[in-house]
């Protein structure tokens, strides 16, 4: 797409969405948000599948499409036999993901530097990422735990997306963000949007504002001086040490590697588990819940920013919703921001 030139806005009628998605699904794997409440997740489209749209973000994140909970890194044959190594084919896997929230897409861009580090590019992640066209839907009604604007996000943000779709009465207004998005939109052969539609889209996007505000200004720099701070003692007191927050976080990417039944598997892992850092000798550098919770917060708001220049949090609010004890990340950040360093 040529720089500086706004992409042509196209109009997608609400009642045609399903038939359009059905057409898309004929050519490519198509992921869409589906399911209710806690069971909502991205699922492969099939005709008649009810999309989750107005009811808020999916409980499970879009990262799972690119970084599944378990995947084979390679197979080696029988556990006891001579190893015959076979890796999954290194190929670009075409797919379309429709209905991501802007925060979901932004989270993927935060995982890219980890998996696509030029020294050791991870082809499993890369193959799926390069093949995927991301069609996001702007948030016109943020959920009660959202705080994307506090961490540099935007309810109608385009970062990481190929196409941004904004719901307006009766329609969706679709605009390409990348060349790939433009190509995808052109193939759909949609009518152009008029000025009224564009104005409605601006209004709809504005409705997404008014999110909870957490002041994270200067927090990464401050946290660098707070490793030994007494506040951690207090902050972790209620934390149960489960992995609900990390497993449902769109930017958490820690994993474990194990051999099982002839395959070397990569599985999700969590810094909240004691086993995560336990040495074979029995020594554990992060012995208690305090160290583990500190690691989670520090990783997102200090260590990652030191390496990548911005926090590894998109403010989607999932950790706030899923925490069994309502230990709210927003309050934790406010407390860290508030205490004397």
């Amino acid at each position: 797409m040529r720089r500086g030139e706004p992409a042509v806005a196209r109009l997608l009628a609400e009642n045609e969405l399903d038939s359009i998605l059905a057409r898309v699904a004929e050519r490519n794997a198509l992921w869409v948000p589906a399911g209710d409440g806690e069971q909502s997740a991205f699922a492969l489209y099939r005709p008649g599948l009810a999309l989750r749209q107005e009811a808020g973000p999916t409980r499970r994140t879009a990262k799972e499409i690119f970084f599944p909970r378990t995947e084979i890194l390679f197979t080696y044959g029988e556990d006891d036999g001579p190893p015959r190594l076979e890796a999954p084919p290194a190929e670009v896997l075409p797919a379309v993901v429709y209905g991501l929230r802007p925060c979901d897409a932004r989270a993927l861009t935060m995982l890219d530097p980890v998996f696509e580090d030029p020294g050791y590019p991870d082809g499993l992640w890369g193959g799926r990422r390069r093949g995927a066209t991301l069609v996001g839907v702007g948030c016109t009604r943020p959920s009660r735990a959202c705080f994307c604007t506090s961490v540099g996000g935007d309810p109608a943000g385009e970062e990481g997306l190929d196409v941004l779709v904004v719901p307006i009465p009766g329609h969706y207004l679709a605009r390409a963000v990348t060349d790939r998005g433009e190509e995808w939109l052109q193939a759909l052969d949609l009518p152009r949007a008029g000025p009224d539609h564009e104005a409605a889209a601006v209004r709809a996007a504005a409705a997404g504002a008014g999110l909870a505000v957490v002041d994270t200004e200067g927090l990464p720099a401050k946290l660098e001086r707070m490793f030994g701070h007494a506040v951690w003692e207090q902050l972790h007191e209620r934390c149960l040490g489960c992995a609900a927050c990390t497993y449902l976080c769109p930017t958490c990417h820690c994993f474990d590697i194990v051999d099982e039944g002839g395959s070397r598997l990569r599985n999700w892992d969590s810094c909240m588990f004691p086993l995560f850092t336990l040495h074979a000798s029995g020594h554990n550098p992060r012995l208690s819940g305090k160290e583990r919770m500190r690691q989670r917060i520090m990783h997102k708001f200090s260590y990652y920013p030191q390496r990548q220049g911005r926090p590894a949090c998109v403010g989607c609010g999932r950790c706030v919703e899923v925490c069994p004890v309502n230990l709210d990340l927003r309050s934790v950040l406010a407390q860290l921001k508030g205490v004397e360093a």
Partner: protein, 278 residues
């Protein structure tokens, strides 16, 4: 690209190190002659060693780049993978990927005296650099070489054949000590940090490289400071639980530093600025 896929290799030789055989050295050779040529590394780096069916573990390469054609790993039996490795025999296959991590700053050490201070299996990573600097092609680039090495008992000393060779050289000052001797032991008895104080190496134009159990490191660092060494003159190498070895799996960080990529070699000067979480 699949960075998790190891190269196949074969165990060529197994050398029992300690009396209880809880440490063994494994010499491995890549199956593919092309990999044998192209796999290059620096002293201080590590590799992920795979035992298919058991998993993989990060292990420092104890051989030196000056020794061509094979890699050596000295391994203490501790967890699932190292135990599986100890049950392997000559001719058995293993997987190797790497090399990973940074290396000892051997270029910066040129022209200086080097004091190696090792304890127990901690000599394994140091041995790569010791062999490297003692190599005829490199020896002249370094001034005095001293090695202080200790273990709990004579039976726990590793690389005995190397110790003998190093001891015979007149360009190496080797001091071996044990915490507790036995009937046959005629050498030094005492803890490494204390021997270090007794020997009192002078800090000028000298760099120290240390590796050993945490308690030894703690007192070695204290005593080096007493002897006038600055934190920048003290180099050490760390171990952490790792999985991927390439900065992705997220567990080996100390603060924002990933031991698998930014380490495992750190100067005490660097380490002092990092959170004490290792």
């Amino acid at each position: 690209m699949n960075p998790y896929l190891p190269h196949l290799a074969t165990i060529q030789e197994i050398i029992p190190e300690t009396a209880s055989q809880d440490v063994k050295t494994f010499r491995v050779v890549f199956t593919d002659p092309e990999i044998r040529r192209s796999f290059t590394y620096q002293p201080g780096q590590f590799a992920e060693v795979s035992l298919f069916g058991a998993g993989e573990a990060p292990i420092s390469i104890t051989s030196s780049p000056t020794q061509e054609g094979y890699l050596e790993f000295s391994v203490k039996r501790a967890g699932v993978v190292t135990t599986a490795l100890h049950y392997r025999q000559v001719g058995d296959p293993v997987g190797i990927r790497g090399p990973y991590g940074n290396n000892f700053p051997y270029r910066d050490m040129e022209g200086q005296n080097i004091v190696f201070i090792g304890g127990g299996i901690g000599l394994a990573p140091l041995r790569s650099l010791i062999t490297f600097v003692l190599d005829p092609a490199n020896r002249s680039r370094y001034a005095g070489i001293s090695i202080i090495y200790g273990a709990r008992s004579p039976g726990d000393l590793v690389f005995k054949w190397e110790l003998e060779r190093w001891g015979e050289r007149d360009d190496v000052d080797l001091q071996v000590t044990v915490d507790r001797g036995d009937d046959e032991w005629t050498g030094r008895v005492g803890f490494v940090p204390q021997i270090l104080l007794d020997l009192a190496p002078r800090p000028d134009n000298t760099v120290t490289v240390t590796c050993g159990p945490p308690i030894m490191i703690k007192f070695v660092l204290q005593n080096l400071e007493k002897l006038g060494f600055t934190p920048a003159q003290i180099v050490t190498t760390l171990e952490m639980r790792m999985k991927c070895g390439i900065g992705k799996c997220g567990r080996c960080n100390i603060g924002s530093s990933y031991v698998c990529q930014d380490g495992p070699v750190y100067t005490y000067e660097q380490l002092r600025k990092m959170p004490a979480e290792y």
